[in-house]
């Protein structure tokens, strides 16, 4: 049905590449998990495996199709394939549902489906025995569909729909274990905080569509119009800034980054999929997708982007230093790495492409790290690294894969993180010296806290209780797969290895990627510095932790720069308390009054009805009965039992009849 419609609309489609091939069927990719979600919901509990087979099957099929699309592009050259069907019309504005497939879309499809597939498989083991196991897979499928929709959307409204559904799924999954109050409040916090960014995002869409004279919401067309200079730079700047609001919320950038560490309350596979690899990357993706708008805005807009990213990058990395919760370390490192991408968005098209390469590699190794930490948590039943230690021997697969992920995060060659960070540094070195320096500093901190995490978790003596053991195959399998990806995907964008990635994902013209020796050496030096320092400090278990014994600096970091307190005391309480008082008053006086009044009126009416019922209706019925009984009581004396009296009546009747008839 949808397919038929899509093919009908192809006449108007804008196909640039030779033959679209499999790209024509890109719309099937989000459709698969979208269909599996309700199927799992309604039939999952009755299926073998309680629904995971459907989830893994649909995402696996989507992954294969995505690979096919990417492969088609690699074989036949990268181009653009776009098609859409009409959705509905508002005034002059025709809404469409469509797909826009270029190299970036193809890569993103592969990333999202690959990570999602790993997480789906991993969850079989991790969520085993959970009482909402089936529901977990429903939301996971729904989330995957929404993210894929964001990736292939050809217009802003379709993108917004996916964007918001992702937010809902994130909320549901963070609060998956809502019985504990902390988890449900974390879910609410995440939802509301990202919503603060979503509102400007929505207004950004409105501004852009209004600026086109309400003619289109198509991303490409808006890009052409903006590039053509038909819209004044001031309006474009406002739109870009508003859109960036959505990125700040979704990609957890300063000052709205506070939700992401708390989102770690959700099950770990969720953190890996949503809060590390895909959803949080959607903000970066949005900036890159709407890049025409950003580079045609006033230059200060991109400066704002760079400043926000820079602050977040260092700030989050420093916070990652003092965390004891292994997932919070990873959460802050995610915020910090996303800030790398956001910052580089401000460095022009070269920065944009490098940022996408980092998004690509980061998705794999960060998902690997999260799933690895999940494996550790699964074994130790705690998130705190102070209760771990010495797990290297007990969980060898987890240790080695986690180590690969950590070194990739630290940025050591030849792992994926090194190559993408190198591209970022090269892009920043061309006229963005401040960014360059901040990135180097952050790289040192990143390497340090990463090694701290590895050492505290896997070396030394086991400090917890119980007997940790290696996780089942369904969990170690995805770890090994992702570790393999982490080892190899870096070469796709490596200067010495032809850097094919930049032929796939580019803005206007493919970048020429070369390895700049001094930058690479500097990058390795920074990473090595952090790694060695971390190793020396944490060679053996120290109590108290040195990073927590730095006086006021530690206090500041442990309180997360007091941001949460400021938000709580300065924003949430002043708004919440009068609001809740007002709501309480309204509830008590107006709503309760109305309800009570209605109840009283109903009772009065009931009394009235009862009177009528008793006296009129019952009276009529009873009266009828009494009259009948009374008459019967009189008449029964005729029934004497004396046959001869009956006969007398009979003859009497005959005589009377005879008289009457003879008279006539």
């Amino acid at each position: 049905m949808v397919g038929a419609l899509l093919h009908q609309a192809e006449g108007a489609a804008e196909a640039v590449a030779g033959s679209p091939g499999l790209a024509k069927y890109a719309w099937v990719v989000p459709l698969l998990p979208l269909l599996s979600a309700p199927l799992i919901m309604f039939f999952g509990k009755r299926l073998p495996g309680k629904g995971w087979i459907l989830g893994v099957g649909s995402v696996g099929a989507a992954f294969l199709l995505s690979l096919g699309i990417l492969w088609h592009f690699v074989e036949n050259g990268f181009g653009i394939y776009a098609a859409s069907v009409d959705w509905f019309k508002i005034g002059p504005l025709q809404m469409t549902l469509g797909e826009y497939v270029d190299g970036l879309t193809a890569v993103m499809l592969v990333v999202v489906t690959a990570v999602s597939l790993c997480v789906h498989i991993y969850s079989i083991g991790y969520m085993h025995g959970d009482k909402r196991f089936t529901w977990f897979y429903v939301v996971l499928s729904m989330f995957t569909a929404a993210m894929l929709n964001v990736v292939i959307a050809d217009n802003l409204f379709q993108l917004l729909v996916g964007w918001e559904v992702m937010g809902v799924c994130s909320y549901l999954l963070i609060g998956h274990w809502w019985e504990e109050h902390v988890n449900s409040s974390s879910a609410i916090k995440a939802f509301l905080t990202t919503r603060i960014g979503d509102v400007p995002f929505m207004f950004g869409i409105f501004v852009l569509i209004a600026a086109t004279g309400f003619t289109t919401s198509n991303i490409q067309e808006i890009g052409h119009i903006v590039a053509g200079g038909a819209i004044s730079p001031a309006v474009v700047s406002i739109a870009a800034l508003l859109l960036f609001g959505g990125t700040i919320g979704k990609s957890a950038q300063f000052p709205l980054h506070v939700w992401l560490p708390d989102a770690m309350a959700g099950p770990t596979p969720v953190s890996a999929l949503i809060h590390a690899a895909t959803m949080v990357a959607a903000g970066v993706y949005l900036v890159g997708r709407m890049y025409e708008v950003f580079i045609h805005a006033n230059p200060w807009v991109l400066q704002v982007v760079g400043i926000v990213g820079g602050i977040t990058m260092v700030g989050a990395a420093l916070l990652g230093l003092v965390q004891d919760d292994i997932k919070r370390v990873l959460a802050y490192s995610t915020v910090s790495q996303l800030a790398y991408m956001v910052t580089l968005m401000s460095a022009g098209p070269a920065g944009r492409d490098a940022a996408f390469f980092h998004l690509f590699t980061h998705a794999f190794f960060k998902a690997l790290l999260f799933l690895g930490s999940g494996s550790v948590i699964h074994a130790c039943h705690t998130n705190n690294m102070s209760e771990m230690g010495g797990l290297r021997k007990k969980m060898p697969v987890t240790f080695w894969t986690f180590l690969i992920g950590s070194l990739a995060l630290a940025g050591l060659p030849p792992l994926a993180g090194f190559w993408s960070k190198d591209e970022l540094l090269v892009a920043a070195s061309k006229g963005h010296e401040v960014v360059f320096v901040i990135m180097l500093a952050t790289a040192v901190i990143t390497a340090f806290y990463t090694i701290r995490m590895v050492m505290q978790t896997f070396t030394g003596e086991y400090r917890g209780h119980g007997h940790p053991h290696e996780s089942p195959l369904s969990m170690t399998g995805p770890l090994v797969a992702l570790a393999g990806a982490t080892l190899f995907v870096g070469f796709l964008g490596a200067g010495p290895a032809k850097a094919v990635f930049f032929d796939w994902v580019f803005f206007e013209e493919p970048e020429l990627v070369e390895l700049v020796p001094w930058i690479a050496l500097l990058s390795i030096a920074a990473a090595t510095l952090g790694v060695v320092a971390g190793y020396l400090v944490y060679r053996r278990w120290r109590d108290p932790d040195p990073v927590r014994a730095m006086g006021p600096v530690s206090t500041l970091l442990e309180h997360k720069y007091y941001l949460d307190d400021i938000y709580w005391k300065g924003i949430i309480k002043p708004i919440r308390d009068p609001l809740s008082a007002a709501v309480y008053w309204t509830n008590q006086k107006i709503l309760d009054g109305a309800v009570n009044g209605a109840a009283r009126a109903a009772r009065e009416a009931g009394d009235g009805v009862q009177v009528v019922d008793k006296n009129v209706i019952d009276g009529a019925v009873n009266g009828l009965g009494q009259v009948t009984g009374f008459t019967g009581g009189l008449l029964r004396y005729l029934q004497s039992g004396n046959v001869q009296r009956y006969a007398a009546f009979l003859f009497g009747g005959v005589v009377i009849l005879a008289v009457i008839f003879t008279r006539i």
Binding site: R636, Y637, Q639, S640, G641, N642, V643, Q644, A647, A648, F651
Partner: protein
């Protein structure tokens, strides 16, 4: 040739005696006999008019009535015997269970 009014008077007298017997007698057997009187009064009427109109249908009816009356008396006496066996009496005033 007997004149019709005489026949009718006779028949009416017989019928009245029968009615009186049915209403006034207490003995069930006598009541049955009184019913016989009423039936025979009817027979006399039928034969009287049959003679008047020279039509044999009346006499045929009378024969039928006699046969039916015989059957009716048979059933009636059987009932009386059963009543007697159950109640040790055939006084109809005492057979009055079926009342208010």
């Amino acid at each position: 040739m007997i004149r019709l009014p005489l026949v009718l008077f006779f028949s009416a007298a017989l019928f009245s005696i029968g009615v009186y017997g049915v209403l006034a007698r207490r003995n069930a057997v006598l009541i049955l006999m009184s019913i016989e009187l009423m039936l025979n009064a009817v027979n006399i009427n039928l034969i009287g008019f049959s003679n008047l109109w020279k039509d044999l249908a009346g006499q045929v009816f009378a024969l039928f009535v006699i046969a039916v009356a015989a059957a009716e008396v048979g059933i009636g006496l059987a009932i009386v015997i059963l009543v007697y066996r159950n109640r040790e009496t055939i006084n109809v005033n005492e057979v009055n269970l079926l009342k208010w």
